[in-house]
Amino acid sequence: MPQWDLANADCILVMGSNMAENHPIAFRFALQAKQKGATLIHADPRFTRTSALADIHAPIRAGTDIAFLGGIIRHILENDLWFKDYALNYTNLATIIEDAFEDPSQNDGKFSGWDEAKKSYSYESWQYKGEFVPSSLAEHFVNTTESFSDQTKRLQQGPTPKDETLQHPNCVYQILKRHFAPYTPEMVERVTGCPKETFVKVADALARASGREKTGTICYAVGWTHHSTGVQMIRAAAIIQLLLGNVGRPGGGILALRGHSSIQGSTDIPTLYNLLPGYLPQPHGLKPHHSLQDYIDHETTPTGWWHNFPKYIVSLLRAWYGEAGMKENGWGFEWLPKIMGDHSQNPMTLAIEDGLIKGLFLLGQNPAVGGSNAALVQKALGKLDWMVVTDFTETETASFWYKGKPVQAGELAPKDIKTEVFLLPTSLAGEKAGTFTNTHRLIQWHDKVVDGPGDGRSDLWFVYHLGRRLKELYRSSADPRDLPIRYLTWDYPVEGEREEPDAEAVLREINGYTWPDRQQIADFKDLKDDGTTACGCWIYTGVFPKNDHNQARSRKPDGPDGPGTHLGWGFAWPSNRRTLVNRASADPAGKPWSERKKLAWWDAEKGEWDGYDQVDFSTEKAPDYTPDWSKEPAGMDALSGTDPFIMISDGRGALFVPSGLKDGPLPTHYEPVESPVRNPLYGQQHNPTAKIWDRPDNPVHVPEDPRYPHVLTTYRLTEHHSGGTPTRSVASTAELQPEGFSEIAPELAKELGIENLDWVVLSTPRGEVETRALVTERLQPFRIDGRLVHQIGMPWHFGWNGYATGDIANVLTAIVGDPNTGMHENKALTCNLRKGRLDRPQNGG
């Protein structure tokens, strides 16, 4: 949903986000909703700038979000507050799940299918009864024993098994009720520390913003993703919104407040190891991906929009390998690198430390500050043969070898570090042309304003010329492993003395064109799987629909009387669609649920969908269309006129997720990997599938470790951007938050004799930091199971460079992560705190 659509919400829950602080521009629209009478709620461990503007602040202990959200789900179900016409028709609420399915409450905290040896689940018992449902995520392949195509083609043989009366004991409704039954208001208070009266007020406010006339939004950010249960927190929000009928409607939805800058863009055109552009799965060495045909057979879903998958991968291969790709060689499929496991940042860091990785390029990243277990990161950097850092100023990472923590501590001497470090100057946004893709998938072009000073070059320049030189290097190589570089298309025109590549040429390729005559394609429906189209990222098709038309540069807003979808402003993927699943803004018959909140509707006279937005549905599919199962329909033909979630195999919003999630079909409260308390809900303490790299250089606390009794959470301040490099190095922003600190509640400060601005030391077995205490009531202790648990906060974006300096909070954090994303858990861990300073030479120690 667009950020500006927040203004249409009747209730906004900000959770896992300090929105006013980190997304102040988007927060403008939250305040516009507030002006119109919306209730604004902030559920957060701390009282922040966002809380100050909210109607309700619900304090919760860090890492207990699922207990809180699970309580809301239970409240909605028990009190029958869900939007029946919506949830019954548009979600899998009535779908029947396999008999073998077992809930964590039956199973000491684990779902059925647990394999203790592999420490992972098999997904058979989570499936729809008698069917196998491929994931709606990029990774469609279902990890079970039967062959993929045999299992999943049953989806083409008839509608999914349902009980519309919701009486079947294994229909999703009954499973949900059983699963969330223990999440009572009393339990919510016991786990999260939030007073149950406050919790119930929040649940009621959300439930009120539901139904035909009302909608509510949930906004989250990295306060949810940075947990070992991060994906499931978002899932819990999705269940709430599906039950309340808040998806695909104006002022409804879940707003993922993505990071700065263009983090959305870097998942679309991914910097992630397991994705190809447009959320296509990276071929995997341990999956049946031996040839293009294998890969297509095992990743194409039989029903729903993803059935078009082969067109997107073949067009991508054509864009990358050009004429070298032919039908016979799978359009160059074998030249794509295959992954072998988890190659995300955390295990890569350990692989560097273990000497497996010898070289590192860092473009716009500062892991010495931002990486978990930062002292280990710095030590690991010293094991590299070479490291290239491109940034506009010297980062902590680039200077680790003479200013880093191990060097300061005397554990390493600069002369003993053999890493050859190259620091190359880069351009800032105004010094280069390109795009930003923001939270709402909106791609906005920016022109270059001036040449950067000195030898600064754009990232595009760097990557393009590096590629050009590599191609030159391997030009005459006969080695098969060099073919991917030799055959890569790399023909962007350059301009000016600096030979800057034309960024618009790159965007034209991302958009896609016909092959070989290179006519721009306006819609991804025109992409083909026969090599006659080339496309760098199928979801971006339409951003450059004609050779001279860059839609991302367009800045045509709706006027004061316009519909407010602003279709002329930039380009929102896919197909310039502002709100996904907007078919659901109309009732099953195709009539808007509400005049006030209309977005898409069925025009029976014209026989097509119409709306203020690009409709996210087959334009001519009537609301009363039902698949003809006798013909074993495939793709969109298998979805009825009332199945709005077209990216999902059965077209229904997934309250229950049969595959795609490694830690279970439903969100379940597990304690953070490091927690001061035992899990009050289940015998299972933490996410059984969490990624924990427990090794001597990354020790992890056991629960209730008395040496580390306090909860620690890390975060960012509005005054500093990214890892702090852009703002700590500028005087007028550095002065606003000139020094690192940790926030401590007066109760804990009193206990430890700490006064405001005193030096304090925070410690974990990974490391220690010294910083100043900011004693504030904005932090508060929680009474958990009768025990007082203190919580300490520390901004993580300080370092030793720039005008604003401070110890690096990530020295304290551990390398542990979410099983689905590998994302670290730096929002909730445990630590110790004492008054005083570290024994450092500069402190006279």
Binding site: W4, P24, F47, R49, A52, K201, K556, E719, S732, N756
Partner: protein, 300 residues
């Protein structure tokens, strides 16, 4: 959604040049000499992001002050000064009797943030105190210091009841907010107001702003924020002591001194007459006493 009609005239990605009367697009106001302009700073919308402070320093090329970590909530700026013309104050009132608030007044509450600025008083005491004419009232009814005329006497500094005007240590001259005089001349709204993401700082014609502000107070009262009131608008607190009204006025929800504003500011010259009177009376008294003494002496 708040898009002004004129925005449609500038929808091309490359503009032919400067947008004439840009403030009409960004603030809904055309800037014309002879009218009175100012700020309405609505603290209930302030999120304390300090974008105003940064935008001000950027546009006016002001250097950073070396303050350091103050420990005073998130306020590391401290005060308005020669180099800092916008200052966001932070006031924490999270708990009462150790109990933290969960349900709060709508809009900003419990952690107060206020972006302070020069008030551009209707009867500006700084201007009255200036012996050189360096301080003058512009065609936009704002008050500006001309550093090329200022002799650094510093009379304006104590004259200001808000502690706004300050002498710069480097050039020894008085400096303060100009309400972006140069931008107003170019048809642009001031940098701080333009950068404010939540429209806590609103720029416009003072009578229009006052009307908006009064409506806002009424609206807030209706929504349950019953503490809201205006400071510095005509006839309201802050517009006291013969200052007339303040062209930069505020919407507050707590007592003025909580935000660092004087409860009843006065014009310095208002204090001159009584002070002069008191002085003259003292003189007269002393003279009489002396005469009496001398007379007594003579009698001896």
């Amino acid at each position: 959604m708040g898009v002004p009609a004129r925005a449609l005239d500038y929808a091309e990605p490359i503009l032919p040049g400067l947008i004439p009367d840009e403030a009409e697009l960004t603030a809904g106001v055309r800037i014309e000499p002879g009218k009175s302009y100012g700020f309405f700073t609505d603290t209930t919308l302030c999120i304390g992001c300090k974008a105003c402070e940064v935008a001000c320093k950027e546009w006016n090329a002001l250097p950073a002050d070396e303050v350091g970590l103050t420990g005073d909530s998130y306020d590391n700026t401290g005060r308005l000064s020669a180099n800092t013309w916008r200052h966001v104050a932070f006031v924490e009132k999270i708990a009462t009797d150790g109990k933290r608030a969960a349900e709060m007044a709508p809009f900003q509450s419990n952690w107060l943030m206020m972006s302070d600025v020069c008030k551009h008083c209707h009867n500006a005491p700084c201007l009255e105190a200036c012996p050189t004419g360096a301080l003058f009232r512009t065609e936009f009814d704002t008050v500006v210091v001309q550093q090329d005329i200022c002799n650094g006497c510093g009379y304006c500094v104590p004259a200001c009841p808000f502690g706004v005007v300050d002498l710069n240590e480097v050039d020894g001259k008085a400096h303060k907010c100009t309400l972006c005089y140069d931008r107003l001349k170019g048809g642009l709204e001031p940098a701080c107001a333009k950068s404010c993401p939540t429209d806590s700082i609103q720029f416009g014609e003072v009578p229009v702003l006052v009307e908006k502000a009064r409506a806002r107070v009424e609206d807030l009262h209706g929504k349950g924020a019953t503490d809201a009131y205006l400071y510095g608008a005509p006839g309201e607190p802050g517009a006291t002591g013969d200052l007339g009204h303040l062209n930069a006025f505020f919407l507050l929800t707590d007592r003025p001194e909580v935000y660092g504003l004087p409860t009843a500011p006065t014009r310095a010259s208002n204090r001159v007459a009584p002070a002069l009177g008191a002085g003259l009376a003292t003189m007269a008294g002393l003279t009489l006493a002396a005469i009496a003494l001398f007379a007594a002496d003579r009698r001896r």
